[in-house]
Structures are given as structure tokens and as C-alpha cells.
């Protein structure tokens, strides 16, 4: 007989893994970094004298002044953390995992701040849209503006290929080469920061120089390490006690294990092939009586 009414089957008990909202949160950072300045500029340029307009104008001014600095700071942190994450003489694997996480977070913040910076410069009519993407087209300060655009383009390529890293498993060297352009883009960004905008205070110049020197040194060390020993893992100390048997045992005696390890369980008696049904006295007591089977 066929069913007359449809019975609903409830699908229950699915386990939700933690961190499901993570990708949404990650996406929110660049989206917000574009939305907030756009809104602030729109409200500020709408005019009026309300409190809101003043606050929006303040936010827009602050971001216009500082978002480039934030981008540079975050991308500096990203370059340093990325370099640190490859280090294996001082850093333990746990610390390298932390450094990778820091590298990714700093890159996300840096690329968001960069987008924010470009957008605000365009909105403030200090640059055209094309200057955000095509280098050396700016009307004034062409060279240093162009350096910034070039660095920005490189960072975008690096972040996008970084997100697609798993797809590059078969073109590992290509990925490495693309990713290593960060070491070129980052000094360009620093030059742009120092020369394209307002004139920097001396301590800023000094700290930029210090950062360049530190990362340069780390970079040199990294490639020296790579050149010296490609396979540092082989130099790790071997774990003690991997084999208890001496390496030079002569031919094994007939039953070597019994002599060496009396604690090993004795091999069980094999079941006779002809009679898998043993005699009655071999059975546990009470399970079979003379007449047949007991206990019923």
C-alpha cells in the first residue's frame, strides 16, 4: 500500500563548527573601510551646520590625514611578520603559526587602509581615479605619486594571489616570485609616504630608515640561511629510543621473541582444522550436558 499522507522527516543534530561567521567578519573590514569614508565625505559635503555634519567632516579629515600612514604601518607589520613566519632557527612552530596569523591580519588591515586612503584622496580631489591604479599619470609630483600607485598595485596582486595560495600548489615558484615582490613594493610605499605628501618630521624619517634596515637585515639572513642549508629539518636531533633492537642482530633463532620478551602473550592454540567442534570436556562447564544443550 502506498503512503496516504506525507510524513515530514526532521533533519536534526547537525554539528555547527565554531567560526562560521569568520569569513563575513573578514569581509566586513575592507567593506567598512570603504563605506565609512564615503558616507562621512557625503554627509560633510552635503553642507549644513548640524552636529552630525561636523562629526562627519572631522572623521573625513582625520582619515584623509592618517589612513595612508595606517596603510604603511600595517603593511610594514605584514612584511615583518611574513618574514618572521619563515624563520626556523629561532622561531618554534607555534610562534611561526602566530606570526602567520599576524601576517594575514596585518595584510587585511593594510589593504583596507590602502583602499580607504586611495578613495579619500580621490574624493578630496587630490588625485584622479586613474591615479589610483595607473602609475606616473598624476598631474603634480608625478614620480612619487607614481611610486605609491605602483606599490599599491603590487600589494593588490600580492594579497589576491595570497588569498588564492592553495590554487598555486602546482606553480609554487610563480607564487613565491609574486609574493616576494612585496620586498620591492614596500620600500616604494615608504618612499611615497616620505616624499609624496606633507613633509615628514625627522623622527618619522629615522624610524622609516630603521624599519628598512631591520627588514633588509632579516631578508639577507633569510636567504643566507636558505643558501647554507636547504634542509634544516635534517639537522634536528633524532628522537631518542626509536628502536630497542640492536642493529646487528645475527640470524634470528627459531622463536626469538619468546627468549627476548617473556612477557609477550603465548600464541593461542590453533583450532584443529578437522574438528572445529571440540570435545564436550573442553567447553565451559554447564553449557552442554550429555543429552544436548542445557539451560532451557
Amino acid at each position: 500500500m502506498r503512503s496516504r499522507s506525507r510524513v515530514r522527516v526532521e533533519q536534526l543534530g547537525e554539528v555547527r563548527l565554531p567560526g562560521r561567521g569568520r569569513s563575513a567578519a573578514i569581509l566586513a573590514v575592507p567593506v567598512l573601510s570603504l563605506l565609512i569614508p564615503a558616507l562621512a565625505t557625503a554627509i560633510a559635503s552635503a553642507g549644513g551646520h548640524s552636529q552630525l555634519t561636523r562629526i562627519a567632516a572631522g572623521i573625513a579629515r582625520f582619515l584623509l590625514y592618517y589612513s595612508g600612514v595606517f596603510a604603511l604601518l600595517a603593511l610594514t607589520a605584514a612584511v615583518a611578520a611574513g618574514l618572521l613566519a619563515t624563520e626556523r632557527t629561532v622561531m618554534s612552530p607555534e610562534h611561526r603559526i602566530l606570526a602567520q596569523a599576524l601576517h594575514r591580519t596585518a595584510s587585511l588591515i593594510g589593504i583596507s587602509a590602502l583602499a580607504n586612503h586611495i578613495m579619500l584622496e580621490v574624493l578630496a580631489h587630490r588625485a584622479r581615479i586613474i591615479d589610483g591604479f595607473v602609475p606616473f599619470m598624476a598631474a603634480r609630483n608625478t614620480f612619487y605619486m607614481g611610486l605609491g600607485t605602483l606599490a599599491s598595485d603590487l600589494f593588490i596582486v600580492i594579497v589576491v594571489t595570497g588569498l588564492l595560495r592553495r590554487r598555486f600548489a602546482s606553480w609554487r615558484l610563480l607564487w613565491r616570485a609574486l609574493h616576494a615582490t612585496a620586498y620591492a613594493a614596500w620600500p616604494l610605499a615608504i618612499l611615497h609616504g616620505l616624499m609624496a605628501g606633507r613633509s615628514a618630521k625627522p623622527y618619522v624619517d629615522w624610524s622609516y630608515g630603521g624599519c628598512l634596515a631591520a627588514v633588509g637585515l632579516a631578508l639577507v639572513l633569510r636567504y643566507v640561511m636558505i643558501a647554507r642549508g636547504r634542509n634544516a629539518a635534517a639537522e634536528l636531533p633524532a628522537r631518542a629510543g626509536t628502536s630497542v633492537l640492536p642493529a646487528n642482530i645475527p640470524a634470528l633463532p627459531a622463536e626469538p621473541w619468546r627468549a627476548m620478551r617473556p612477557a609477550l602473550p603465548a600464541p593461542p592454540a590453533r583450532v584443529p582444522v578437522a574438528e572445529p567442534w571440540p570435545a564436550a570436556d573442553a567447553l565451559p562447564p554447564g553449557w552442554r550436558t550429555a543429552g544436548g544443550y542445557p539451560d532451557r
Binding site: 500500500m1 503512503s3 496516504r4 499522507s5 506525507r6 510524513v7 522527516v9 526532521e10 533533519q11 536534526l12 543534530g13 547537525e14 554539528v15 563548527l17 567560526g19 613566519a85 619563515t86 626556523r88 612552530p93 607555534e94 611561526r96 603559526i97 602567520q100 595560495r165 592553495r166 598555486f168 600548489a169 609554487r172 607564487w175 636547504r230 634544516a232 629539518a233 635534517a234 634536528l236 633524532a238 628522537r239 629510543g241 626509536t242 628502536s243 630497542v244 621473541w257 627476548m260 620478551r261 609477550l264 602473550p265 603465548a266 600464541p267 593461542p268 592454540a269 583450532v271 574438528e275 572445529p276 567442534w277 571440540p278 565451559p284 553449557w287 544436548g292 544443550y293 539451560d295 532451557r296
Partner: protein, 550 residues
Amino acid sequence: MLPVIRVGQARVTAGLDHTPRLDLPSHRAVFGFPPTLAAAELIGICEEVDLRGRGGAAFPVARKLRAVLTAAVQAKTGQGKRRAAVVVNCTEGEPGSAKDKILLARAPHLVLDGALVAASALRASEIVVAVAGDGPHLRSLTDAVGSDSALARKVRVVSVPDRFVSGESGALVNAINGNPALPPGTKTRASDSGVHGMPTLLSNAETFAQLAVLALLGPAGFASVGTGHEPGTVLLTVGGSVSAPAVVETPSGVPLGYILDICGAQLPRAVLVGGYHGMWLHPGAAYDAPVSRAGMAAAGGTLGAGVVLVLGQDTCPLGEVTRVAGYLAMQSSGQCGPCKLGLPAVARSLAAITAGAGGVDELEALRRAAGGVRGRGACHHPDGASNFVASALEVFADDLIEHIFHGSCGRPASGILPLPADGGDTRLTVDWTRCRGHGLCARLIPELVELDQHGYPRLLEAPVPFWLSKNATQAVDMCPSLALSLTADQVKPAAAAAVSAAADPPSPLAVRARQQPQAVLTGRAWRRADLDAAEAWLAEIGGPGPARPL
């Protein structure tokens, strides 16, 4: 779908000789209407025949009923109206078991009758039937529930993820209440607080089918077959190296060897009783052990949920055990540390020994790891897995010696023990030419990766479980050498074919042929005298026939 064989009188499989599935009219024709019993009557008859749960734990049904009743009455006096619930557990997460699926697929109304008898005795407000996975059993169940509008109003059908621990009672109650199907950390008995906090009678599908038979036949009729201490019949799922795997209904007390001969087992290397939380038996012990809880316990095994898996002589026993140990490790729900890290350690040590790469120290590490997980989890899973491995080490002691000292026993592991193969699994793979032993993966997924003495990863040969998928993806993303990757698993057609419920039921003729065991029995494995004795005994326990038409 596995064929159904019965030995002697048919009870829960009655009527299946003639039809692939008992729909409501044919079910009523075979079984009639179950009586309406008061709670005291029901508890009385359950106590009289000592009916036990058939899901593996063998908890007395009468005690469970009484606990639910007590809790319901106490709650009633406390806060007005508080009713009980009945949960039929058909999740059957054990890969070797098929009896509950077969019951649902072929005699769904018997299971529902049992649930209705219990529900009316307890005045339960809700009956929940929980199944796992899709297949004929789910279609048959929804058809059966939908065939009667009164039934459709009373019964909720719930589908939970098809995993080993989904069927644990706490996990099942969690799922029915809308939470993840994971065993709870603090033990609460379903009889105290189950579905929506109601006192809940939770038992397995076969238990409810047996309950229906008990209500129909009465205690005397029920006890007319089987041993004195454990009367009635038992459903077994026999698989592995047998020519005719089947679900077998047998009176308790019949020697397991008799059942194994019917199913075409030939000189096994060992027999696994009680499923993957059960024990290995030497064939000598297994063949003589009566099919009953006491009989299996006396032989050093356990009846569990009635899973009997035969391991033939031409497969590597340790290889088979390793496969199952890897499966069990990945079936941990990832909640309790000793289980989620300990079981992979057991599987890795076993894999090393099986591959001839482990010495005596590895055996000691294995024993330590297997012993170390015992009693240290929210559910029974680590204990059951540990028992399984420990009994394998005992029964396959001479294979261990061959593997440890000679590298191999020379036989391939041919995948006799059934494991679910759904093909959608992913595995971690390493490009060894690229791996530089950075070791980040071992810190990110210690459950799946361990470093060897050179700092290179040793992976567990098992698909990545759902609770590790995020960590595995992270490990792939963070591999500094881009050497680690996740690849889709190839479908292994041979695995789990024994119990996968896919094909149509066999023709009635084929079923009848199977049901005449003397046609299958050969003189090879049995002495003539034993055969005669068993036949005479079976004729005797068939008895004068039940009071009602069965």
C-alpha cells in the same frame, strides 16, 4: 539489503518469509492488534522475561520503564502536567549492524506497535523515531507512519547525521531537542530528562519490536523459545568473510557456530562479536558460545547489538584492525581530549606495526595509548574502541609477532570489515618532494599529523572528519612549503558492500532456500552427532506453537 534468515520460530521476523515488506494490512494479518497494557502490567511482563535493551548496553527495560514512570509522577506532583516521551533509536551507527535498518525496512509496523504499547502504558505525549542516513529504511518508516493518520499525528520522524556517536542516548536526545548530536559532558539519564526535559523511554528499534512481540504473546509465549535466563529471540547481523551475510533471528542459546555455518563461514581466523566496540574471539571459543549475553561473556566476548563479523584466513587481521581503528579514531566527536588525541595515537601505532615499521616499543606505545583512553570521555566511545583494539592484540598475538619481527604476515588487508564509504571524504596528502619538515601541520592538527624522528609528518590513514575540516584547511593554507593538500577520496567499492542497504529484497524463493539451514549445512564443519543434536533441539524449542497466530 541483507537477507533475513530465521532459525526456529520466527518472532520479530514473522511474515517476512512471504513478503519483502509487511505493510499495515499484512502486518495486522500476521500479528493482529497489540493489547493496551497499563504501566504496571507492562513492567510486570518485561520483568518476568527480563527483557533487555538490544542496542548494546542490555539495560533492563523494566527498570527503564519504572524510572520513566517515577520521574513522570514526581514531575506531575511538582509542576502540574508533565508527560513522558518515547524515543525509538534506529540510528544504528555501527557499520557492521543492519538489523534495525532491516526491521524498519521490512517490518516497520512491529517497531511502531512496540513504541505505541510503551507510549500508551506511560501515557506518553510524544513518540520520536530517530534514524540516520537515507535509504529504504527511512522510506519504509515514513510510508508506515503515513499509512495511518492517527499514527502520523503521534509519531515524529527525526533524521540525525549518520555517525558512530550519533546514536549514543545523550547525543540523540540532544539532536531531538535541536542541539548538535554530540554526547553531553554531564551524564543525564533520558529517563529523568530527555525530549524537551520530559522523562523519556529511549531504546533501540529491536527492543521495541521485541516489546510488541512480548505484549502479543504474553510472558509464557515469549519465553517458549530461548534459554531460561534470557528467553526469546535475538537478532544478529552476520557479515565479514561469509558467503551469505544475513540478519539472523535466532532463539537465544543456539551455538554461534550453528549460525555461522548457516551464513557460510569457513574456518575463520577469528570472530568479532559485539561490533567495533566489541571483542575478538578465537573461532574455537566463538563456535561453541551460545548466542546470549551470558554465553558470549563466558566465551570472553560480548553480545552487544548482535553484530557478528567473521574474519577469514586470507586477509591480514592486523590490517583489518588498523582500518577499523582509524575509522573509530575519526568517529570521535572531537569533544574530549583523551579520545580525540588518544584514538589517533592508537591508530598510528597500529598502522606502524601493521606496515612492519614498528618494533616492540611501538607495541608498548600502542598498549599504553589504548589503555590511556579508558574511562576518559563523555561517552563510551574511547572505552569501546580501546576494548576492540586490546582484544585484537590478544587474539592476533601471533600475527603481531610476525609483523613486528618479520615485517608482514604476507597477506593483504582485503577490507573484510565493513566501513561506510561515502566517497565524499577528503584526505590530507603530502608532496614529499616539497615538504621540508617545518612541522606547522603537526601543531595545527595533532589529531591527524605526528612528526617522525626527522621532523617529517606521519599522517593518519583516514579521511578528515567533519570536526577537523577547518583545522585541516588551515594547515594546508599555512604549510610554508605548499606541500600539504586536501584531496577528495576515491570511492572504494568493495568496502561496506556487505551491509549497504541498496538492492531490492531477495525473491521469496531465495529467502526460503536460505531458511532451510540443513540445505546449507555441510558435513565439513560439523560432526554428524552435533548436527543431529542441534536439529532435534531446534525441533523441540519450536514447541507446540504460540497461542496467537504468528
